[in-house]
Subunit: 478 residues, 2 copies
């Protein structure tokens, strides 16, 4: 259907993927730019997607026994400095509050870039006995990281996220927690956002500042670049020693507990856009779509059409479907283009001829397929169509991922494969930083993860020829 000029055009993704992304963010009314570089406004439609993601994650967290808390937005510089690796990682990116009212502060305070130090300080007050453990906390908030280059969702100086922080009596329990929460993130990506993931360990170089292990889920975008979509960290007792958090264990001995943290942010909305979007705009999986079905009356000036359209709307809502109607005076072409731009999974058309035939027409956003739905089957068939869209999006993304993983046995081959196809290049690896840096310098790729699902591609590291320890994935990352 021809586009009405009222729907602003977006750049084709094949022409300029970065510009296409920015166009979708603004034209689908997800974000607006504020007066400060890197601080974005999440408009109602963008925030509603985040609310659906929050609702899923918060439910999972609580089912697993986590409790929400609220930590302060400001961290004293001296507190941030208590754990050496941590401050080295974060201090260069901190935004600093130096004045309160008209007075200069005795110590500068950073706007939290992450809250490990705050949780540790609190736990040093309240953890005494093994009976107090575990404490499994989460908070929903925004954090600031003063990045140089910024893009909506993908890299903001401020972003919204949740940060889970837990403290346990034993290393085993903390390690289980770390992996369990990675699985929650994998479920969120795969089952809710329809984004297939690769699970694995981060290398020493790429892990979180202060962590013993960082686990990650990596997704592949439509342009075959990688997006780190959620991470979960095992801290050992490094922080609890630095903050002197001790507890009396069951044998009445004073011990240091073990910690984890894990986070997922509005970055995944960027991932969602770049995984499923197309040249007509956003494409949303039904499970996170603020509007799952848009009812569009055809020839709405004809008698009975609007009434029937509203009747269908009410029935969809009553069936628990997030439905809306576009009964505006805009043209049919405008409406189709507008709701395609906004990524609504199903457009439901109903016109005079449909009414005569006692049917309506469901149009899938993911593949344009039209499904004729008998009006009496509305409540059973529309959820099925929504499930098909959800599955269709996952399958398409999985196909994109699976077809863009390539094995290489030399740095040159890795580089050539990346240049020709993009995607993830898998090789063996000796585990040395030098080889990781070589791959970055010579092939332009960073390590994405050491996947949990290991394969034996050979015995030696393609960078240095020494014995290999792991199979590793390389890629170009957002």
């Amino acid at each position: 259907m021809a586009k009405d000029k009222k729907v602003e055009q977006i750049t084709d993704m094949e022409v300029d993927f970065a510009q296409w992304f920015t166009d979708v963010c603004t034209k689908a009314e997800l974000v607006d730019y504020s007066g400060v570089k890197g601080l974005f406004i999440m408009r109602p439609y963008g925030y509603a997607i985040w609310e659906n993601i929050m609702s899923y994650l918060d439910g999972r967290f609580k089912e697993l026994g986590h409790e929400n808390v609220s930590m302060p937005v400001l961290i004293p510089e001296s507190l941030l400095q208590k754990e050496k690796d941590h401050v080295e990682g974060f201090a260069p990116e901190c935004a600093w509050v130096t004045h309160g009212g008209s007075e200069e502060l005795p110590e500068r305070l950073c706007v939290r870039p992450t809250s490990e130090t705050l949780f540790c300080d609190h736990w040093s007050h309240v953890v005494h006995s093994y009976r107090d453990l575990p404490m499994k906390y989460n908070q929903w908030c925004s954090v600031l990281r003063w990045e140089k280059t910024t893009r909506p969702f993908l890299r903001g100086r401020e972003f919204l996220w949740q940060e889970g922080h837990t403290i346990h009596a034993t290393e085993e329990e903390a390690r289980e927690e770390t992996l369990q929460m990675l699985e929650v993130y994998a479920d969120c990506c795969e089952k809710v956002l329809a984004m297939p993931v690769i699970r694995g360990d981060k290398t020493e170089k790429e892990k979180f500042a202060g962590a013993v292990n960082t686990y990650t889920i990596e997704c592949m975008m439509h342009d075959h670049k990688a997006l780190q979509s959620g991470t979960s960290h095992f801290f050992g007792d490094g922080f609890t020693r630095a903050f002197n958090i001790t507890f009396t264990d069951k044998e009445n001995k004073l011990s240091f507990p073990y910690q984890t943290s894990w986070g997922m942010s509005t970055r995944v909305i960027g991932g969602l856009i770049m995984t499923h979007g197309d040249n007509n705009g956003l494409v949303l999986p039904p499970k996170v779509a603020p509007i799952q079905v848009i009812v569009v009356p055809v020839a709405q000036q004809k008698e009975g059409v609007l009434d029937k359209a509203y009747e269908l709307l009410d029935r969809l809502k009553a069936a628990g479907i997030r439905a809306r109607i576009d009964a505006s005076s805009n043209s049919m072409g405008w409406k189709c283009a507008q709701w395609e731009m906004k990524g609504v999974p199903v457009r439901l058309e109903i016109g005079p001829r449909d009414i005569e035939n006692n049917v309506c027409m469901a149009v899938r956003r993911d593949n344009g397929e039209k499904v004729t739905v008998g009006l009496e089957k509305l409540e059973t068939m529309i959820p099925q169509v929504l499930d098909q869209v959800q599955q269709g999006l996952f399958d398409k993304a999985k196909e994109n991922l699976d077809s863009h993983i390539f094995a290489a046995s030399s740095v040159e081959e890795a580089k050539a494969l990346q240049e020709e196809h993009g995607g993830f290049i898998k090789t063996m690896w000796c585990g040395d930083l030098a080889c990781e840096e070589k791959m970055k310098e010579e092939a332009g790729m960073s390590s994405r993860c050491i996947p949990f699902d290991q394969e034996n591609l050979g015995d030696t590291c393609p960078c240095c020829g020494k014995p290999a320890k792991h199979m590793i994935y390389w890629g170009i990352a957002y």
Copy 2:
């Protein structure tokens, strides 16, 4: 029942109400102090109360057509300065970010004390036509105000809140919105928090910086001081003119739209504590209590007691009641004192004799009353007992409010009444700032509001003798 020493004692409220309040905040594990004065940690039990309040308010907001958004946490100084009255009110309390990473910023940024300026800046980008209006937005976030004296919940340099911001084509619609949202706050206080309110206008002196009208709900605490518990502001077109937000109206004429904003914060949790609490600690209305029923097995070492207690727990949960069990090895005395401290509305005791008699015992936290509940009636009777506690708390607070409003016809009389009884002193008032300041200087009271329910107490202002315009409430406020 005698208190076990394991439950830490709190100061009696009659001895030192302020210390009693602080004791309850910490001993009931609502908050912890952070390393920065005035920035508090909301612990799981405190945050869970806020989650229940958020859930109620967010539901009401959305029913009324509001959408959530997220605005940046930082405001450029130049943006804050655009509306003259607004900046005068807030600039002295701002916390300023001056450095990002290692660089000094070209313009300092304040951590938002409130977000009117951000919403206006956004609306100046996206409001074009009457078709775009109204926009009815809300955000859940924290704000910073660099206060000198701070107390948990009541006055923090950081506090959590929601701030609603709406923009309308007509003054009439904006005024309706302002009053409608005040009613939502009144409902939240009265129906959820069991805190009766007085609705009214703030005086010129007390209104929000930049508002044409500020409406308020005022509550009375147990010590007969006042707590402003929610405010709703009508801005006229002052901000839209300052930010040059215009729209094309139905007559194709360029016009300035009208704005409102309204906020409720974690301050109401302070109000909750000071309205219902007693010398045994917190008392929570069932509608916001994180735990509505605590099941306490009596003589739990006896065969069958624990099984039966868990059975009751499961039945309560299945009936949608937020229930928990205390099957710890602590003494009965410790458990009773502990859950009283935490303000759980109903303690459900079940012991060997109860099991024989096929009953359990529900003990009300608000008045200590014991209710024998036949086990077969658990699911019907416990919700009734919870409703009785909710109503009982409201009635007690209403009685406290109603019995502490006194009419006065001179400043001296007002002062004497306040000194003898505390509470709200109502007088007539000419409307002049001078008289408002006189009441503050001579009787130590600020104006609380010009109540919507006006009474005629006389014809003249007790401060100056000139003709009276309104009846006004005075009080000592938190």
